[in-house]
């Protein structure tokens, strides 16, 4: 995906630049941007090292584990049909906590694990449904003795296809988890503060509170939507 975006931006830029006669400016634009990326990284290195250092302390002291325990009721509210001690629950909490603390890069591994576990859970559910259905079958046949052999077979065939499709469709838990993840509640937007401080302003952190309000709002909307769809 990124390959296309990147190539598209460059090719489009050069073509449009040639058309509007900005050829010499393009060279400057490209070189300046590269230099700027390096100086940005130098500023960011400080913020990043500081934040990751603090997070390491938080992890070591058991603070993050405590927070994980704290949001358990929330997990129960958002994923009511997730079995209590299912491993997916732990990965989901880790992912959400990492998100809240602004550890974007740290939340992906846990998130992927959570998705795998949810897929596993869905497979088990499909299996269970199939067993239940098989148990129901003789009863069905008794109830409907008039139904011809052919139609019975046809109906079963279409149901099988339905189950086949279900195996690759997202479960409600997956949808909820991803929407929550994308709405991404974040306590402190560390990256944004780092980028802002690069451009030499008095107070790069003024955005914390409004950002918190905005992210809270988008997450609340996401929760309402998920609960409505999952009812």
């Amino acid at each position: 995906m990124l390959n296309y975006i990147w190539a598209g931006m460059i090719l489009l830029g050069v073509i449009y630049g040639v058309c509007t006669g900005q050829m010499s400016a393009l060279t400057g634009g490209a070189l300046d941007s590269a230099r700027e990326a390096v100086s940005l990284c130098i500023t960011m290195a400080g913020v990043m090292a500081l934040w990751m250092g603090l997070m390491e302390i938080a992890q070591e002291s058991g603070m993050i584990a405590k927070m994980t325990k704290g949001i358990r009721p929330f997990l129960k509210f958002m994923f009511p049909r997730l079995p209590e001690d299912h491993p997916a629950g732990e990965y989901i909490t880790t992912n959400l906590i990492a998100n809240v603390l602004g550890l974007g890069w740290a939340c992906t591994p846990a998130g992927l694990k959570a998705m795998e576990q949810l897929a596993e859970l869905e497979k088990q559910r499909a299996e269970q449904r199939r067993i239940e259905q098989q148990r129901m079958q003789p009863v069905n046949r008794q109830l409907r003795p008039v139904a011809g052999q052919g139609t019975e077979k046809g109906r079963q065939g279409s149901e099988d296809r339905r189950y086949g499709a279900e195996a690759t469709a997202a479960s409600n838990e997956m949808c909820t988890f991803l929407i929550l993840n994308i709405s991404s509640l974040q306590l402190i937007p560390v990256n944004m503060i780092a980028y802002r401080s690069q451009y030499g302003i008095a107070n790069p952190a003024v955005i914390i509170a409004p950002a918190l309000v905005a992210t809270l709002f988008s997450t609340i909307i996401a929760i309402i939507y998920c609960k409505w769809k999952d009812r």
Partner: protein, 174 residues
């Protein structure tokens, strides 16, 4: 908005105090642990440097070619009315696909308008409130081998829209 600004000011010192204090109380070797984490942080920055060079170069080319001006000219007047400056249109689109590509655009806005301008503020708040939709969906669903995403996309778009509206409202108050 004074309280919001004030809250922003005390947030980071509070968090630092809380984390270090809690660490001390629970008997963690705070300084050594901090160094371990800081090293990891530096490694991450070094890792993203090439990405940043590549993407900022692409954005730089696109900007100097005048393409963004064209885009702003075309859609700008319509979005300006609801408080969305024309410079933010490419950002809103790119943000849905890749957060690192969006970062390139963010820095460009900071450079041309300044981080404390209305556009800069709006960008800062906007980028802090939602994640990259299509990237997240493709990676996560790939892990679960899911092809039918059902109501994930509408939900994600709705959340992003909510975040955008809230950001415009808040940036206007700053």
């Amino acid at each position: 908005m004074n309280t919001l600004t004030h809250m922003s000011d005390i947030m980071i010192p509070m968090v630092i105090f809380w984390i270090v204090g809690y660490g001390m109380v629970s008997g963690v070797k705070v300084y050594e642990t901090f160094l371990k984490g800081a090293k990891e942080g530096l490694r991450i920055v070094v890792e993203i440097l090439p990405t940043l060079v590549g993407l900022m170069m692409a954005v730089g080319i696109l900007r100097t070619s005048g393409f963004f001006d064209l885009l702003g000219h075309l859609i700008g007047p319509a979005t300006q009315a609801v408080g969305l400056p024309a410079q933010l249109i490419p950002l809103l689109i790119v943000k849905m696909f890749s957060s690192s590509a969006a970062t390139g655009l963010v820095l460009d806005i900071f450079k041309t308008c300044g981080p404390d301008s209305y556009a800069g503020m709006l960008t800062s708040i906007l980028m802090s409130c939602t994640e990259t939709i299509f990237y997240t969906m493709s990676v996560y669903f790939l892990a679960a081998k899911v092809t039918k995403t059902r109501y994930t996309l509408p939900g994600a778009l709705l959340a992003t829209l909510a975040g955008t509206v809230a950001s415009i409202f808040l940036a206007g108050k700053m």
